[in-house]
Symmetry: C2
DNA sequence: ATAGCTGCAAATGCTTTGCAAGGCC
DNA sequence: GGCCTTGCAAAGCATTTGCAGCTAT
C-alpha cells in the first residue's frame, strides 16, 4: 500500500515524473500511512539521514509541485514558518508555539457557526482555524 | 481624542518613551479612530509620504514593542506576510488573497462550537480564524 | 546624567531562481 | 532526442541585530 510503485503512480497521476528525488520525498511523506506536517528543512534532513542526496532547492521545488498538484497543503503558522501537510482534506490545526509542532484537528471536531458570508463579489477559498497553545 | 498628547500618554502607560518616531507611528496607527492592518513596509512608506524620517529597522522595532505592550496584535496570513492589527480585541479575519488585504470579522459574527480542548498539559493561547477569499 | 532609542548597515533565515548538466519517456 | 528535472550557487525578501551617536526624563 505504500510501495515505491504506488508512489510512482501517484506522481504520474499528478502529472509529475517519478524521479529518484521525488520518489524519495514521496516515500517519506506518503509512505508512512499517517499524516505528516513537515518543513522543507526537516524533510531535507530526513532524506539526508537515510543516505539520500537531494538538494534543498529541489526539496522546495518538489514540495511546491506536490502542493500545486493537490498532494499537499500549505499551513502557515508564523512568518518564516511554512509547513506542508499531507492531509489535504478539510481539517484544522493546533500549533504548539514553543515547540513549533502542528497537530491535526479533524474537521468534525470543530464547528464554525454563523460565519459571515464572503464580502461582495468574493469567492470563499478556505477557512483556516489555528488553535495556538503552549506547553 | 487622537491628539499627539493622547498618544504620548498611551505610550507612556505602556512603558515606552514617546519619542518623535514612536509618536509619528502611533499617530498613523491609532490616530485615525478606526482599526488598521499594516505591514512594517506599508507603515514605513506612510511615514515617509508625510515627510517623516524613520528608518525601516525602527519601524520594525516599534511595531514589535507595541505588540509586546499589547497595543498591537500580529496576524500571520502567509509566509513573509506579517501584519500588525490595531484591533487587539477578540476577533477574526478575512484575507483577500489576491490583494493581500485583511478585513476584520467581529468575534460575535463567528461562533466556534465544539473546539477540542488543548492537548494534555497545554495552555490555550489564542484561536485564529482566517477566512481566505479571492475576488 | 543615564538608561533607553535611533539609524545605518550588515547579518540572518527562509525561499526562489538561473543555468548547465543529467535523467525519464 | 527532447523536454522535464536537478543541483549548485547566487539572488531575493522580510526581518533582526550590533553598535556608535542621540534624546527623553
Amino acid at each position: 500500500m505504500c510501495s515505491t510503485s504506488a508512489i510512482a503512480d501517484r506522481l504520474r497521476t499528478a502529472g509529475l515524473r517519478p524521479t529518484r528525488q521525488r520518489l524519495a520525498l514521496g516515500a517519506l511523506l506518503f509512505g508512512g500511512g499517517r499524516d505528516r506536517h513537515v518543513t522543507a528543512e526537516q524533510l531535507h534532513a530526513e532524506v539526508a539521514a537515510r543516505g539520500g542526496r537531494v538538494s534543498l532547492a529541489t526539496v522546495y521545488n518538489a514540495l511546491n509541485q506536490f502542493t500545486a498538484a493537490g498532494l499537499l497543503r500549505e499551513v502557515v503558522v508564523g512568518p518564516g514558518r511554512l509547513y506542508f501537510d499531507t492531509n489535504v482534506g478539510d481539517h484544522h490545526h493546533f500549533y504548539i508555539e514553543n515547540e513549533g509542532t502542528l497537530l491535526d484537528i479533524p474537521a468534525d471536531r470543530v464547528a464554525i457557526a454563523r460565519l459571515p458570508s464572503a464580502p461582495e463579489g468574493m469567492r470563499l477559498e478556505r477557512v483556516d482555524v489555528v488553535v495556538r497553545v503552549r506547553r
